[in-house]
Amino acid sequence: MGTAPASRDVTSYGMGLAAPLALFFLLFFVAPLLQLFWLSLHNDTAGLHWGLGQYLHFLTDPFSLGVLGSTLLLGAEVTAVCLVLGFPIAWLYQRIGPRLQTIIILIVLLPLLTSVVVRTFAWIVILGRQGIINATLQSLGVIDTPLRLLYTQFGVVIALAQVQMPLMTLPLITALGRIDPNLDDASCSLGAGSWRTFFKVVLPLSLPGVIAGCTLTYAAAITAFITQSLIGGGQMLFMPMYLYQQASTLQNWPFAAAISIIFLLAVLAVVSVFTTLGRLSRGYGGA
């Protein structure tokens, strides 16, 4: 319609509404970060000599770069698992009665209502050498020796996917709920099958929810310190643990600060890609 540019005027709120939060963030988020940045610009642990030595150290060290790479990859794997498992939940949610809907919401919210530490210990009980999975498989005679599930990439991905699932499923449920059910019928009556309708109609229309969910899941998965360290054990090192080791064990504060700044920038780059896709898909979904 020709009113599109004008409608944006009418339907937007003043930026003043963002002022209280902006001020709060300036005081309690930006200020600590600036201090962190200031600290990262020092070459020695006492913070007396200025220089870019910490950043050079990180960017020329294959080990550090490897940790960064495996952390970003871990986030991608967890996000993919969450999307593949979370989308059917949201789809099922739209297709069942209100009582079952309440049960699904309760199950989806359950991980948010229990402590991360408790859930992670539960995964140790499930994935361990004498854990539920190994015991079941052995009693069924499928395997002879216990599988190594704990302290592996697979274990970390599964545990993180469970922990972060609500962050993916809730935006998806919202997004799917906004799609006009008549479109489904229209697509079917025009000859498209269920699979084609799903990939050509439902999935594209739910893109804002998919992107919101992916952003949340990705960011939460790569910064999940407790789950990464407990399930990954000492075998795998990811950025949050690397950072913690440098700050707490080695007391190398400027290097820890430099790690956080590099990590922050790497993740912000990924998130801004998601955000750009989100803005593009918004026009797509509203068309």
Partner: protein, 284 residues
Amino acid sequence: MSGRKRTWEAISFEFVMTAIAIVALILIIAPSLVVLIVSFTSGFSLKFPPPGYSLRWYAELWHAWQLHFAAKNSLIVALWATGLSIVLGVAAALAISRSRTLSARLLDSLFMSPLVLPALAFGLAALMLFSLVGLPVSPLTLVIGHTVVCVPYVVRNTVAALAQLEPTLLESSAVLGGEPALHIPAHRAAADPAGHHRGGLHRLHVVLRQCAGLPVPARCRDRHAADPDVAGPRGQARRDHRRTIGRVDHRDCRPRCGHGARHGTVAATDELIRRRGTANSPSA
């Protein structure tokens, strides 16, 4: 043939989706279920299945005063952080969600960044700053830190919901409320601060319900049906407006004061749909 093929396709689709959903739900619920079952163990270790069942650890809980103390602290910090996050976060999400300006995008990134910065790094940075300023570690600093970490969840979900909020709801609210507001004598607007206030709140109410995925309650309609303003002098204004709806310049319809949403978005949309319907049908 094609009918059978379509049926088979539909069944395979529904089966695959439902199966994955059930597996995913089991995956979500399994750890919590395991913890729940293990909590009733009679033994001393985290063994599954437990050697026996008893309520002994729940009885122990009754005497664990450290746990009571910790639970009370958690509850207080959580309540304050939640309240503060919602108030600050929803307001900010309303401001940035429909704006495509650079400042809105920058603010969006700023509000999202606590999610991506490891909480550990932020915790260390905040601790350094608080000690530098001389603020002792207390429930207050905990609430501040948690609010920073929690705000992105509020902002991201509210923005995602607002992105799919029908712009016509807000548009029609402005069209119907914004124009008649011009006809109200100044003294009436001044004498009716409560109504002024209610309009804004009501618009917010509709937006928030939309965000939460809740239906807009029927009593909104009832209230507007019973609203004397709608049937009274401003009813005339709306009828005038009805005639001009086809060539309204929307830029002139921006609400100039809080009356912008006086009539509420639901009633407004119904009106708009009805008018468009009558305008388009040749019999009317």
